[in-house]
């Protein structure tokens, strides 16, 4: 019988297989950041171990880094200590690091792909759940804990328990104005936050094949929000075109050999998935979350659901608690929810195409009175590209704040946080209680919906903007 994409990549990395034991998998690329690595380096130090493959390891600073005044010392002494610890560890163990201020600095999942380090058929790990992002290239990419970070540093391998396979097939074409973010939010609402548990999801079908690499990264990024161990998309011409010429992409004969291998990384026609989900792209619309987990979402045209409408008692209680936390009432129209803050950025939607699409909506308009909008590029390279294209001016002229690269308000480890009760339309990935700041309320949205929301002051899509004049029309 044939094999799925995930099974092929897995099989190609088995260092040791024994009955009744997890496979020992080789890791091609290990990405590090300051938050989940210090205790791992400490472990190495205590046991007198070294980093086995510094040439397969890369570190960036992203979670704690400020997005303002980056030339000044970091105000929060604890954040500063954590960044200094990463610098010391990378120096001591010989790990390549892109610190704050470096032109390659940025969110770890933006940096790996843009350097061309994330390649089809590779295994990628990072002490960060959104490592699933790299699956967009047909890589098998897992988020891991700190004990596993130490394990990979010491051995370049990981014992991994077997997985199940799930196909999410998206047929047809996404309607105008519907983005990868809307699609993945709809998928998570369909399968639930635990529906992917134990699975590696392969996204396939015409609508997926039509997506750009950056849009594919948005999809795979949020696989973890469905509980999946990883998300993958088979590499194709779009993938190869994205990679060719990047800093760490193979060249010459190596490129040809690599592409020949990459072309084999497709699920065989006679392969079977353990579970299949089919979605009709034509039925999708801009999608937003109303609750406190990423599965609690609905089309923007819908209303806040009545908890009593949930058949499962657990879902009902979860919805009740979510509405209480979010300060929403059943039946309230999602379009009428007013926001205080709009955040564009993160490893989900902080790449250049995301900034372009938000800027396109904002161009020549002003954001609503009283709304604060933060635009945080995913990396310094993305920022430089945006400046080159004049996008930073589009944002600032619309009244938004143009910030330095980092994770920023996605999780508020730096000063970019919501205040208690403050409501935010966010292009990030998690609407958990307090995620963006204690008491903050998060609605997950696409960059286009974020921009339209900033203009109107309530949840909106670009299609709702007919009555928001541009200066030329005033």
């Amino acid at each position: 019988m044939g094999r799925t994409l995930a099974e092929k990549v897995w099989d190609d990395h088995v260092v040791r297989r024994a009955e009744g034991e997890p496979d020992l998998l080789y890791i091609d690329l290990h990405l590090l950041h300051e938050v989940t690595s210090p205790q791992a380096f400490d472990g190495l130090r205590k046991s007198g171990r070294r980093v086995r493959r510094t040439d397969l390891t890369l570190a960036t600073e992203d979670h704690n880094t400020p997005t303002l005044d980056i030339d000044k010392p970091i105000a929060d002494p604890v954040s500063r200590t954590q960044l200094e610890t990463l610098r010391k560890n990378c120096g001591e163990f010989g790990v390549r690091l892109h610190p704050l201020g470096d032109t390659e600095q940025g969110v770890v999942h933006v940096v790996g792909p843009q350097l061309g380090l994330t390649q089809p058929g590779t295994t990628v790990v990072c002490g960060d759940s959104h490592t699933s992002t790299h699956g967009a290239f047909g890589a098998l990419a897992f988020g891991i804990g700190t004990s596993q970070v130490e394990h990979v540093l010491a051995t370049q391998t990981l014992p991994m328990a077997p997985f199940r396979t799930m196909a999410v097939t998206v047929n047809g074409e996404l309607p105008e104005g519907v983005t990868a973010k809307d699609l993945i939010l709809a998928i998570i609402a369909r399968i639930g936050t635990g529906g992917g548990q134990g699975y590696v999801i392969e996204y396939r079908g015409e609508a997926i094949e039509r997506l750009s690499m950056e849009a594919r990264m948005t999809i795979c990024n949020m696989s973890i929000e469905a509980g999946a161990r990883a998300g993958m998309i088979a590499p194709d011409e779009t993938t190869f075109a994205y990679l060719e010429g990047r800093d760490h992409a193979p060249e010459g004969a190596d490129w040809d050999a690599a592409v020949a291998y990459w072309r084999t990384l497709r699920t065989d026609e006679d392969a079977a998935f353990d579970h299949e989900v089919v979605i009709d792209a034509a039925e999708l619309a801009p999608f937003v979350t109303w609750g406190t987990n990423p599965g609690q979402g609905a089309p923007l045209t819908a209303s806040v659901p009545d908890p009593r409408s949930f058949a499962d008692p657990g879902d009902r209680v979860a919805a009740e608690k979510a509405l209480e936390y979010m300060g929403l009432a059943p039946g309230q129209r999602l379009r009428e929810i007013a926001v205080d803050t709009v955040f564009v950025g993160s490893c989900t939607n902080g790449r250049i195409e995301d900034l372009r699409s938000a800027a396109e909506v904002l161009r020549g308009r002003r954001i609503a009175e009283g709304v604060r909008m933060l635009v945080v590029p995913g990396s310094v390279r993305v920022a430089l590209q945006a400046v080159d294209e004049g996008l930073d001016r589009v944002f600032t002229e619309a009244g938004a704040e143009w910030r330095h690269a980092g994770c920023s308000m996605c999780l508020g480890m730096n000063p970019d946080q919501l205040s208690p009760g403050e409501r935010c339309a966010s292009t990030s990935n998690r609407n958990f209680e307090g995620r963006q700041g204690k008491g903050g309320r998060t609605h997950l949205v696409s960059p286009q919906v974020a921009a339209a929301t900033a203009l109107t002051g309530h949840l909106a899509s670009p299609a709702d903007l007919a009555d928001v004049p541009t200066p030329a029309e005033v």
């Binding site: 260092v15 391998t157 635990g194």
Partner: protein, 197 residues
């Protein structure tokens, strides 16, 4: 890692599903560079509510957390496991755990036990009715017992063995040095490298 064989203690009923790791330990705690001192951050936001189950006198000193499905979703932060252990928990029971959290817990000797929703409900009712009653989580027999409740649970044999023996994964893997070196000698040259060494 500390070995886990069997544990007996009182249970805390946490009647919530989708307990994500941001609730277990909020992000601002992750700036610490140690594995200890996270106990005050555990469920920090919920613990501000005096009625929250962990704040109830009857549940003080309990060591077995019983939660709803999809416990530990979200971030991969191992700090969530450390926070539960630092606070004093030895085992967590839920109908379903997020994968990364479960992996992290087993690597630290925090036993995560999957039991059916009906058994979890029975444990909740018991802990609410008689907070002083003890629950035994026996990894040798793979069984949870409490007054009027007896439930077997699954855990793959390899993970169980590592826990029972308190084995360090890295030492075990380093015994495979020859296999790792052999694999490395066969890796294609086009595979990416972050730096020349």
């Amino acid at each position: 890692m500390e070995a886990f064989t069997t544990h007996t203690g009182r249970a805390v009923p946490l009647r919530r599903s989708n307990v994500d790791t941001d609730q277990i330990i909020p992000a601002h705690w992750l700036k610490k560079v140690t594995r200890d001192g996270f106990e005050d951050g555990l469920f920090e936001s919920w613990r501000r509510d005096p009625e929250f189950v962990l704040n109830q006198e009857a549940h003080r000193g309990a060591t077995v957390l019983v939660a709803g499905p999809d416990f530990g979703t979200g971030s991969s932060r191992e700090h969530a496991v450390w926070a539960l252990q630092n606070y004093g928990f030895k085992a967590v029971i839920s109908p379903r755990f997020a994968d990364i959290f479960r992996g992290n817990s087993l690597k630290n000797g925090l036993l995560t036990v999957v039991l059916p929703a009906a058994t979890v409900e029975a444990l909740w009712e018991l802990a609410e009715r008689e907070p002083g009653s003890e629950v035994t989580v026996d990894l040798v027999a793979r069984r949870v017992t409490a007054p009027g409740i007896e439930a077997d649970f699954d855990l793959d044999e390899n993970a169980r063995w590592r826990l029972l023996e308190g084995l360090d994964d890295i030492s075990l893997t380093l015994r495979e040095e020859a296999a790792i070196a052999d694999f490395e000698s066969r890796r294609p040259v086009y595979k990416p490298r972050t730096q020349a060494v």
